[in-house]
Amino acid sequence: MLRFLIRRSLGAVVILLIISAVTFFLFYAVPRDPAMLACGKNCTPDSLAVIRKNMGIDEPIPVQYWHFMVGIVAGRTFAQGDCPAPCFGYSFANQDPVWETILDRFPTTVSLTLGGAAVFLFIGLGAGMIAAWKKGTIIDKAFSSFSLVLSSMQIYFIGPLVLALVVYNMELLDQPKYVPLTQDPGGWFMGLLIPWCVVQIIFTANYTRLSRSSLIEQLQEDHVRTARAKGMSSRYVFFRYAWRGSLIPIVTIFGVDLGSLFGGAMITEWTFSLPGLGTLAVKSVQNTDLPMVMGVMLFAATFIILFNIIVDAAYAFIDPRVRLS
């Protein structure tokens, strides 16, 4: 297990290096000059040069990349002040330190993600299980068609629709907002209720279908028939034998989904104006804010890779064949 973790962590570092390089150089492939934007209307060549120097973009691009990467590991000093490791620099747009901004936005994204995941796992796996159990019946067909409809929905359509209905028309809930859990648990829950229900829609549909097909496949396995031939009840066979095996593809997909959600559920956060990493990413790209884009990108990528490693480790708990080989 330890060797596995070391090997995967080294692999993760390589992947992150590649992602950082690609993002960094792609940023300069776009014909927009962040110094020009910061300089404003009455821009003189002299002031532009000063701004460039302050931003640290007066040097050749590879050198900038090198300083950036060193900063992450060792920290660096800017005109705005000291920046301890991990240093992603200061935002071009509003001079905020990137790392602190990310840490500040992260709880919103985590709250949205975990709540949403709880909803879509519960409904998705449950509905998939019922559909597989009642395979071929009206219930199965209803669940399958419904999940097909849901999975073709779009959050930017459903989100405003729910807002219009629940908040403005029926006035059941307040406008969604983020309140820290530690400050006011009730407010945290009520404020995120609508975003949770909206962010899960597509996932629920996918997990319903995945869990249904995976279970049906497992139910046709020989070992399930053996268990029935032993006289074990259908319920026992369904949960102990079929369900256990059906979890492997679900865990795989869940790891990837959760990892990418931790990097920010962009559309949902944007739709409900939640101050998470998703909104931060969209805004930074709009503002040509290189340090912020790099920061959010690497942060999100780290989570995706981390969850991939967790998934691989989780296999060992589900499948004893992985444990020993």
């Binding site: 020989d222 070992h223 028939r225 031939a229 006289g231 074990m232 034998y241 004893p320 020993l324």
Partner: protein
């Protein structure tokens, strides 16, 4: 001393009013509904089996042998399968029995060993847990009793070091050991009926022989009736008392092992025998396979299902037609064929037997 020997020879007393055999299958029909139509997997099958006896069911893939036995245990899909006829186990009707009733019999009074021990055991639980499950359920045994019994069974089927191996997962067992574990699982509740569905097909030959010996020994110990399904006549000769040859969902020949293997009557049985390689045979001598393919069970040929592949159709006399009249399998020793008994014996001795050597 003498009295003991005497008693051993007295046949087991039969139950009150027990006219039938221990396992009696009468006019069994198993039909599946598919998108292409109704598959007649088993089409009017009857056979009997006594305690302590072994019935070998032989036939090609798709002849209905596995389906027959799945329907005895009630393991078919009730939504798409229609089973009619009579299956009497020790006088108890199994067709149309409630799922709860079948559950209490499965793994307890009747058990099954499957073909592929690699896929027939769940990879997620230890061998011991899987073997012990039916014992806990049917006997209401405690965890400790079950574990002791499981170890005892593993020991009995010849797993060395059973005390340690009981906690292994199936993938830590070899193929032969897995099949032994399957047998232990099937026998843990002393079933009266054991159905073995090609239990040795997936194993290599030396292991095959060990497993067959083990089954024979265990049968002597437990006195179970065994239905042994296979397509390998060599295996059948080893284990069975009686043989039932199946073709296209019907029984085409029945008799004791000696009768069927020494003097087979049905041209299909001749075909099976001729397509079997012999240990002492000439290496360069080609096998003679049965031409054609097994019949489609969606629309089986009219008359005798074997007639499109049979080389003796023209020999049938007496106004009977193989493609129109369905031959009947007589009770007891016999074959479902329009050839007369003399013809069968002449053709076999003159044309088939010389090729078998």
């Amino acid at each position: 001393m003498t009295t003991v020997t005497k008693e051993a020879h007295v046949p087991a007393p039969r139950g009150e009013g027990d006219a039938g055999a221990f396992l009696s299958v009468r006019d069994l029909y198993v039909h599946f509904d598919t998108e292409d139509g109704t598959v007649k997997a088993v089409d009017g099958l009857s056979f009997d089996l006594e305690r302590g006896q072994t019935l070998g069911i032989v036939g090609e893939s798709g002849s209905g042998k596995s389906v027959t036995n799945l329907s005895i245990l009630g393991l078919h899909n009730p939504r798409t399968t229609e089973v009619s006829g009579e299956i009497l186990l020790d006088g108890q009707e199994l067709t149309g029995a409630r799922e709860k009733t079948l559950e209490s019999l499965r793994g307890n009074k009747m058990a099954m060993i499957f073909q592929d021990p690699l896929t027939a055991l769940s990879p997620y639980y230890t061998v011991g847990r899987q073997i012990g499950e039916p014992y806990r359920k049917h006997r209401g045994a405690s965890k400790r009793e079950t574990r002791e019994r499981t170890i005892e069974m593993l020991d009995k089927v010849g797993i060395p070091n059973a005390k340690q191996r009981v906690d292994d997962y199936p993938h830590q067992f070899s193929g032969g050991m897995r099949q032994r574990a399957m047998i232990a699982m099937a026998l843990i509740c002393d079933p009266d009926l054991l159905i073995a569905d090609e239990p040795t097909t997936a194993l290599d030959v030396t292991v095959q022989a060990q497993i067959l010996d083990l089954l024979k020994d265990l049968q002597q110990e437990f006195g179970s009736a065994i239905v042994f399904i296979t397509h390998d006549l060599g295996v059948i000769a080893n284990v069975a008392d009686d043989i039932l040859v199946m073709y296209g969902g019907r029984a085409v020949e029945r008799g004791s092992v000696r009768e069927v293997l020494r003097a087979p009557q049905h041209p299909y049985t001749w075909g099976l025998l001729s397509s079997m390689p012999r240990l002492g045979g000439d290496v360069n001598e080609a096998l003679s396979p049965i031409h054609g393919t097994p019949p489609s069970l969606l629309s089986p040929p009219p008359g005798c299902a074997f007639h499109p592949r049979c080389g003796f159709v023209d020999e049938v006399a007496g106004g009977l037609s193989c493609s129109a009249d369905r031959p009947v399998l007589p009770a007891g020793r016999g074959a479902a064929c329009h050839l007369t008994a003399e013809q069968q014996s002449t053709f076999f001795i003159e044309q088939i037997k010389p090729r078998l050597g």
